[in-house]
Each structure stands twice: as C-alpha cells, then as structure tokens.
C-alpha cells in the first residue's frame, strides 16, 4: 500500500491521544486572490448530510467570502471520471468514497490540495494526504431495538450477531460486500486486525449461515434506521450517524460499537475544477475545529481536526465513533481498490444463490 494515500490505523491511534499532537506553525496566507466567482459547486451525498454541511460550513463560507455555495448530489465516481475525461468539470469539490479516492489518485482525476490555504496542522500526520481531504470518520455498527433487547441483552459482537438462537429476530445488513465480508470473518474467529487479505471462501461460507435470517439487504443509508423504526427488523447494521439521528429524536434504538467497521469520509477537488482557489478555501472552512464540532453534533460524524472534540457537547460525545476506535477496525480501502470488483461480483453471485 502506498503510504502517501489515506492512512487510517495510525491516524486513529493518534486521534486517541489528541493532546500528543497539536503544535505546528500556522499556514502562510497572503498570496494574491483570484477573482471571486458568483458561486462554487459542492457535490456530496445529499440528505441530512447536506443540511449539516450547510449549517457547519457553507453558511460561514458564504458569509465570509460572499460566494454562493451550490449543492449537488449524490457522490458519483462514474460522473467524476466522465467530467474530468470530458474536460467539463461542474464540481469544485466532491465527496468521494475511500477506495474511490485511491483509484481517482491513480487515474489522475484529482487536484493536489493547496497546503498554503488548507490548514491541516492539527490533523493527525497520517491524515494529511496530498490530494484527499479527510472530512470525517464514520463506522458501520449494530443498531438494535431497546424494547426487544432490554438491559444490555443485545448482541455485542459479530459472533453474537450470527447466534440467532441466543439473539432471535429479523436482521438487516447492507447489500454490499464491504463490511459484511469482514463481519463474517470476525464472527468466524478471525482477529479484527487480521481480516485482510480477505478469505472469500471462508467469509461467504459464514455468510451462508446468516442469510436466511436477514430479511432485508439494504441499499441506501436511510433504510436500516427506518427498518428499526418501523420494527421491520430488530437488528440492523448501519452507519452510526443514521442511528444517531433517530436516537436523538427519541427512537427506542441504541448502538453497539464493538467491532464496528471504521471508514473515512473524503472530499477532493476534481482535476480541472473551475475555481480551485475557492475550492481550497472551502476545504479550509471544513477543517476549522469549531465548524467540525457543529457538523459532528448534527450528524454524529466527527472531523479529523484533533481539536474539534473540545468543542463538542458532552451529551454528543458518546455517539461519536472516535471514542471507540480501539474496539473497532479500519476498512482497508487499498485492498478494496484492488479487489473491489472481484468482491462485488462474488457478492452478486452469492446473493443470487437460492438460500
């Protein structure tokens, strides 16, 4: 794995000891500014994420610079490639999946980040990739109905998740190889720091066991939260922020963080973006700890500026995945950049197989 790319394990280990890092010189400003455009375009996943980004970053950006922030969605790797290929790049910044960021770097689809503008001095050293801006951390974990699993009787590991006798009830998992292959291996006894390279045979054999008990294979992030709310299932894997959202609103749902699959949210500037300077200014806005704290409180996805946790309300902190890094593991984007297509094909074939 190329060390220049996004790095995770070390990053998070460092996040744990936030105080250790933290002294670095401020960035050098003061170059001549290019003319301001009327607007810049930020492309992201949409939904509540857009609302939170507006509140945390876009509103202050607009006020500061008088440049309107136009939002589009969803994050679409195919579209990014098509735009760059056609030399007609609509986006100034776009969100991008972890493994896609690695492939985009290799395909030369993204611009380098201007270190003079974007201050990442308070970032863990390993989270300062030259062209990929690490925006936040999220994790796929277990969400469960508290009215079904009372007083800590819920599954607390993937082995538990697979134990349908001890923990009966309909389950939902993502319709995707990522996360599930790892969960299956961990449930089968593989230590969570030894899941890569993934043993496909072993993983799918273990998945065979759980297949009849998964009533819904979800395909959009909102589904698992909704399925738990409607009691369509009593256990669901899902992204922590989606569960955090319904818990905030009083749903009888809680999160089990153990053995969750951590990932990093990323933003990049597409090659040939029309306003690279102002795009960098936006990335800088997204690196400010106070703003990241607002974002984390809204969605449950903390930023990577180590100081941002200082600005988060004590009530919110237990819902941020950065607190549970030790119990979890990092999805290996580099492995998926190499093996993602194969994994997807095997997954499709497995889904088609009659249980």
């Amino acid at each position: 794995m190329d060390r220049k790319y996004i790095t995770r394990r070390e990053t998070m280990a460092l996040l744990g000891s936030a105080a250790a890092v933290g002294m670095a010189s401020g960035p050098a400003f003061g170059q001549a500014e290019p003319p301001k455009p009327a607007s810049i375009v930020v492309n992201h996943s949409g939904g509540s994420m857009g609302t939170a980004m507006r509140k945390a970053f876009f509103a202050t950006y607009e006020k500061k610079y008088g440049i309107r922030v136009v939002e589009t969605s969803p994050a679409d790797f195919g579209k990014l490639r098509a735009m760059v290929d056609a030399k007609n790049v609509e986006w100034d910044i776009t969100e991008i999946g972890g493994q896609d960021a690695i492939r985009a770097t290799k395909l030369d689809l993204i611009e380098k980040i201007d270190e003079k503008i974007v201050d990442r001095s308070k970032y863990p050293e390993k989270a300062r990739s030259p062209s990929v801006f690490a925006s936040s951390v999220y994790t796929t974990i277990i969400g469960y109905r508290t009215d079904v699993f009372k007083g800590g009787t819920h599954p607390k590991s993937w082995a538990d998740w697979w134990d349908v006798k001890k923990f009966p009830g309909a389950r939902s998992m993502r319709n995707h190889p990522t996360d599930n292959l790892e969960f299956a291996l961990i449930a089968d006894g593989v230590p969570k720091d030894k899941v890569y390279p993934i043993d496909f045979d072993r993983a799918f054999k273990k998945l065979d066991q759980i297949k009849p008990h998964v009533t819904v294979w979800w395909s959009t992030g909102q589904q698992p939260a909704q399925l738990l709310l409607d009691k369509e299932v009593v256990l669901a894997t899902g992204w922590n922020g989606r569960f955090y959202d319904i818990i905030k609103k009083g749903a009888p749902v809680e999160i089990e963080w153990n053995e969750g699959a951590l990932k990093q949210g990323s933003f990049v500037i597409p090659k040939g973006a029309k306003n690279p300077y102002w795009a960098n200014k936006m990335l800088h806005e997204m690196s400010v700890p106070q703003q990241q704290a607002i974002y984390a409180s809204e969605l449950g996805y903390p930023g990577l500026n180590l100081e941002s946790l200082n600005f988060v309300d004590a009530k919110v902190k237990p819902y941020l995945p950065t607190l549970y890094v030790e119990k979890q593991f990092w999805i290996d984007d580099a492995w998926y950049a190499e093996n993602g297509a194969k994994a997807q094909e095997l997954w499709n074939a497995w889904m088609l197989k009659k249980a």
Partner: protein, 271 residues
C-alpha cells in the same frame, strides 16, 4: 409511402436531435464495449452464469409486470374512455398524478404501506383476516406491486387512446343486430384496440427492463435486475467497457422482443 416522404421535412429537427442526443451516445457506448479490440466483454456478459441469470430474472419480471399492467390497465383505460366526462377527468387525475411524483417517494410510500407493521398488514390483522403479517415487502411481490404502480399509466393511456379512436357506430350496429355485450367486447373492442394493447405492453415491457430503484428498495436486495449490475459497473467498478457490453446485450434483447412483437401483431406485414 408518398405520405411518408412528404412528412419527412418537418421531422428533420427532431431527427437531428435524436441523432445527436440519442443515436450518437448509443454508438459511443457500443464503441466502449469493443474498445479492447475483441468481444471478451460480451463473452463475459453472455458466458457467465451470474449475468445470464440476472438477464433472465429481468426478463421474467418484465413479463410479469406487463401482464399485471394489462390486467389492471385495460379495464381502467376502457372505463375512462367510455364513462361520463366527469368520471373520465377523475380517472385521468388518478392515473396521471402519480406520474408527476418522484419514483423514489412512491417507493418509500409503498414501504410504509406494505411492511410487516405497515398499514395493510395492520388492517388485515386488526380485521382478523390473517394472524401473522403477510410478506408483501422485501420480496418479488413488493417489487411487482411497486413496478406495476409506476408503469400503469403507460398502459392506461394507449388503451384509452385506442378505445377513443374506435368508431362508436360499429358498436351501435352490433347492438342493433342483437350482439351481447360480451360478444361486442370480444369481436369489436378487443380486435380494434389491439394496437393500444400492443403499444402499452411494449412501453411497459421495455421500461421494466431498465428498472432500478424500485427493485433495489422493495426487493430487500434479493431481487436483482440487470440495471443494478450495469450501474455497479458504471459507478463503482468504473468498468465502462463491461457496462457497455451489458447495456448492448440488453439493448439487442429489447429490440429483438420489439421486432418479435411487431411481427406477431401484423401477420399480414410479415408475409
């Protein structure tokens, strides 16, 4: 034939538009699929069990959806065409309104209605009709309900048009000669509205082949259609060559079905 050549000139702008924005991209896409200089991607699309199975699933679902759309859409279109103007307007509103609503919203609405604790199952259980909730969602049933709902207008409108075009004096003559309603339907309405049935069925069938959101959400992940796989190749795997090959197979398949249907519909032309 003379009417065709006379009508050709005004059609030029539309043809140019189609050529630039439809034909050219399709040819470009086909080009992707043979970029490697061989037919390897086609061999993969047609040779591997996974993709053949999904093509077959897609075809089956499209047939089912067309069948149910016809079953529901024909009487509805017929009714709207023959009822009083007031009810015809009401009918149109009910048929057309969903067309203006996003498919995603409608799909989520079905999730609320059809779930284990959804409105339908609650009603059935409260009424004592069933003891356990019926599995209406996250399976083929859910997908079919959702797709038929989305595609029904495309069946109703052509049927409505065909019935409206029918010369009422034929029906009056048949009635005058003492034909029963059943006979009138069987001998007059049905043969003379076959065009509408054909048009509606082809539109519904072809649109079904490309369905994506509805099966993904209402099928619980178990119902796999080819559009989902193509989308994966385009957006996730970035294997546009293979995506193009899969699309080309789907396109070829669709055209073949269309040609076959044409032939079946116009036996005199086939001779």
């Amino acid at each position: 034939m003379s009417s065709t050549s006379k009508g050709f000139l005004p059609a030029i702008p539309a043809l140019v538009l189609l050529g630039v924005f439809f034909l050219y991209p399709v040819i470009r896409m086909l080009g992707f699929s043979i970029e490697t200089g061989n037919l390897d991607w086609y061999a993969k699309a047609l040779g591997e069990g996974l993709y053949l199975q999904v093509f077959w699933n897609t075809f089956q679902i499209a047939v089912f959806v067309t069948f149910f759309c016809l079953l529901l859409g024909y009487p509805l279109g017929f009714l709207i065409a023959t009822t009083t103007p007031f009810w015809a307007t009401m009918g149109f509103i009910f048929v057309l309104l969903p067309l203006w609503t996003s498919v995603l919203v409608r799909t989520y609405a079905w999730m609320v209605l059809l779930g284990r604790n959804g409105v339908f199952n609650r009603m059935l259980i409260d009424a004592g009709i069933v003891a356990d909730p019926l599995p209406l969602l996250h399976n083929l049933t859910g997908v079919l309900i959702g797709m038929v709902h989305v595609l029904l207008p495309y069946m109703v409108l052509p049927v409505y048009g065909a019935v409206k075009r029918l010369d009422p004096s034929i029906v009056a003559a048949a009635q005058g000669l003492g034909a029963s309603s059943w006979r009138i339907f069987w001998r007059i309405y049905l043969p003379l509205t076959l065009n509408g049935i054909f048009a509606g069925s082809v539109i519904v069938f072809v649109l079904s082949l490309g369905f994506y959101i509805t099966p993904a959400l209402l099928g619980g992940g178990r119902v796999m259609m080819i559009a989902v796989l193509i989308e994966q190749q385009v957006r996730e795997t970035l294997n546009w060559q293979f995506a193009a090959a899969l699309s080309a197979v789907l396109l070829g398949f669709t055209l073949a079905v269309y040609a076959l249907a044409q032939r079946a519909m116009r036996p005199e032309a086939a001779r």
